[in-house]
């Protein structure tokens, strides 16, 4: 079946997210609200995000729990519909009215890898069927023999064996299941993978195997990754560019080296301070006061201002815009006003 004509974007803007918002209505049921005179409650999980991902790069989105990064992942992949804003994939607006075949063609080119290796595979299906499902759904194989060949090849690509196809997920370890997840994601021959904390639930040594595998696959298959994580060390290792999220907003975006050596936003600096010192340089972790506020009632103006040592009156009232700086952007009044100097950091191994 020939692909219906779809637009092609520029390589630099392979994936383009603009003004993306997603609000969730978590109000009590109407009856309760009316009887108890309670207001509506909206969680602004994603509150205006702008990201551009170039073809072949790995863009990582970091932040703590509740910052909205997982929601962004699900928005990009189409599991949620945006409340506002747009997602463009290779020049195609994902929210526009496409024909069914166009939509399927677009979906085929992007897939997702999930965090929980135990919940992301249907426990009642054999591994073969799990991996074959996208191939069957998109009509990519020419018959049973071709299907078996494809699935076998995919299993080998993730360092499993074709015989593993006959087994059930519970017969595999966490790391192996994540490999099966990766094989399933690759089955439709996608160009873009959204990875939602794919190694967070794995042991450290298994994480290393999976990360190495993902880097290898990216090189070999020319994949583009949107990588969600809360682990800054992992992000440092594999990303081209990094975006830092806090309470639904992007506070800073920069190329990896720049972000880690010259962090600008106070929250970014705070996050970097929390990375444990495994090189035993004796660097003290500087714990920062306060906790992440509830996303139902975010602070006004710049949402970070209650915890920010550099906050002034303007920060309480006015939401900062993203300013272009040093190859990225930062949303901070203190930086804009020049109140906050940017220092160079080094993490060289000590003693």
């Amino acid at each position: 079946m020939p692909d219906a004509p779809v637009a092609v974007g520029s390589a630099n803007q392979f994936v383009r997210i603009a003004g993306l918002k997603r609000y969730f209505d978590v109000s009590a049921p109407w009856l309760v609200r009316t009887l108890e005179n309670r207001p509506r409650q909206i969680v602004q999980a994603v509150d205006g995000i702008d990201i551009e991902i170039a073809k072949g790069e790995t863009f990582s989105l970091v932040g703590e729990s509740g910052c909205g990064k997982s929601t962004v992942a699900r928005l990009v992949v189409g599991l949620y519909a945006p409340t506002a804003g747009s997602i463009e994939f290779d020049g195609n607006d994902m929210a526009a009215r496409h024909s069914r075949s166009d939509m399927a063609a677009l979906r085929r080119r992007m897939q997702m890898i999930f965090q929980d290796p135990f919940a992301s595979l249907n426990p009642r299906w054999r591994v073969f069927d799990i991996i074959a499902e996208p191939i069957r759904a998109f009509g990519l194989s020419s018959g049973k023999a071709d299907l078996e060949k494809r699935v076998g090849e995919l299993l080998r690509q993730v360092k499993l064996t074709p015989a593993d196809g006959r087994k059930y997920p519970h017969e595999f370890s966490g790391g192996q299941r994540q490999r099966i997840s990766i094989a399933r994601a690759l089955a439709s021959e996608p160009e873009f993978l959204v990875c939602d904390e794919p190694t967070s639930a794995l042991d450290v040594s298994v994480q290393a195997q999976i990360l190495n595998l993902m880097v290898d696959l990216q090189r070999r298959l020319q994949l583009t990754y949107l990588f969600i994580s809360h682990n800054l060390a992992v992000v440092y290792h594999i990303s081209t560019r990094v975006g830092v999220m806090y309470l639904g907003r992007l506070v800073e975006v920069a190329p990896t080296d720049t972000l880690f050596r010259r962090p600008k936003h106070p929250y970014t600096r705070m996050l970097l301070d929390t990375i444990p010192d495994l090189d035993m340089t004796g660097r003290q972790r500087a714990p920062v006061a306060g906790e992440v506020p509830s996303p139902i009632n975010p602070p006004s103006g710049c949402t970070f201002h209650p915890r920010c040592p550099f906050a002034n009156e303007r920060c309480r009232i006015e939401r900062p815009q993203a300013l272009p700086i040093e190859g990225g952007t930062v949303a901070c009044h203190a930086i804009e006003e020049g109140r906050l100097p940017i220092e160079e950091r080094s993490y060289a191994a000590g003693g």
Binding site: E64, S65, K159, L160, T161, S173, G174, G175, Q176, D203, V204, S205, V206, Q207, A208, Q209, L211, N212, V215, H230, L232, A233, V234, Y236, H237, D257, F260, M270, L271, D273, T274, I275, P276, D277, L278, D279, M280, R285, A286, P287, V288, E291, V292, Y347, A348, A349
Partner: protein
């Protein structure tokens, strides 16, 4: 702090074996584990899932879930055996002399009682204090662990605290009866990164101030590097390396520890590939003969396949590896692995 004859260890674990009888045979989850903790020392017990570290901690607190049981070995606290105590006796030890902190602050606190009531109840169970004295002590503890507005929050319920605050309450609860030892099982794993740093700092400070020793069980090497004085690395139910934290982290002597440290992405240098240890930790039913790590070890030899190494001296630490024995590992044997 080094244990000497003048400074007897607070906790002594000797040849501990924890078994799980199942209908398919007996599974050995902790295999001949021995270590000491000196008074006031922080010992990290690190390992990946299935290594047996949590079970070791549970055995020490006396909270092994049946059918798991201590099959052999001794656990001594301040010289007296605690592994064979009847339930009532152990209950008195737990809380008064050993405190516990678990991973999930949500389930560690009873949601039906106020925080203050839980503290007071624990204090009065172990200490001869009156109600008002106990409440004062509880209040002081809450302030010590950094709960703002402790006077009013003491009567709040657990669900009214955030995750980090709850874990502080749990720490207060563990310390309230003045134990000499705290067993902390993954105390920061369920918390956000920024909160983790706060809680770790708090735990360190409090234990120093109260001269409480800590057995810190975790899979997170970063937490260990910052908090522990010594660290024991566990693999397949055994201790494979134990020594001062700086030595184990920066100059690991056991191939597994070396591989483990290499797998962790760090900020020092950006490598192309992380070191990876091929294969996976063996299941409890399939532990290989000889050295449990040998199928995955790039430096193995004939001896590793048949003889199980005990912990032996290796620089400032001890490692269970024939590489550090004068006899060596014997003729090298290549690995026959399929990737995990």
């Amino acid at each position: 702090m080094v244990t000497t004859s003048n400074n007897p260890p607070l906790l002594e674990v000797k040849n501990l074996r924890v078994e799980f009888p199942t209908r398919r045979g007996t599974l050995l989850a902790v295999d001949d584990v021995s270590f000491d903790i000196a008074p006031g020392e922080v010992l990290g017990v690190v390992g990946e899932s299935g290594a047996g570290k949590s079970l070791t901690g549970n055995a020490i607190i006396g909270l092994l879930e049946p059918p798991g049981r201590i099959a052999a070995g001794e656990i001594r606290l301040e010289g007296r055996r605690i592994d064979n105590l009847p339930y009532e006796e152990m209950r008195k030890v737990r809380g008064a002399r050993i405190g516990a902190i678990f991973q999930d602050p949500l389930t560690s606190l009873n949601p039906l009682y106020s925080v203050g009531r839980q503290l007071v109840e624990t204090i009065q169970t172990h200490l001869p204090l009156s109600g008002s004295e106990a409440r004062k002590r509880a209040l002081d503890l809450l302030k010590e662990v950094g709960i703002p507005g402790a006077e009013s929050r003491i009567d709040h319920y657990p669900h009214q605290f955030s995750g980090g605050m709850r874990q502080r309450v749990v720490i207060a609860l563990a310390l309230c009866a003045g134990p000499r030892l705290i067993v902390a099982d993954e105390p920061t794993t369920a918390l956000d990164v920024s909160i983790q740093a706060q809680i770790i700092a708090l735990l360190k400070r409090l234990c120093r101030e109260h001269s409480t020793a800590v057995m810190l069980v975790t899979h997170d090497m970063g937490v260990i590097a910052e908090t522990a004085d010594r660290v024991a690395v566990m693999y397949a139910g055994r201790i494979v390396e134990i020594g001062p934290v700086r030595d184990v982290v920066k100059h690991a002597k056991h191939p597994y520890t070396k591989g483990l440290m290499g797998s962790i992405p760090s900020l020092g240098v950006r490598h192309d590939r992380l070191t990876q240890i091929d294969g996976a930790m063996p299941r409890l039913t399939e532990i290989p003969a000889g050295c449990a790590f040998n199928p995955r070890c790039t430096e193995r030899g004939q001896r590793c396949l048949v003889e199980r190494p005990e912990l032996m001296s290796a620089g400032a630490s001890r490692a269970a590896c024939w590489l550090h024995d004068r006899g060596g590992v014997g003729a090298p044997v290549a690995r026959e692995l399929v990737d995990a």
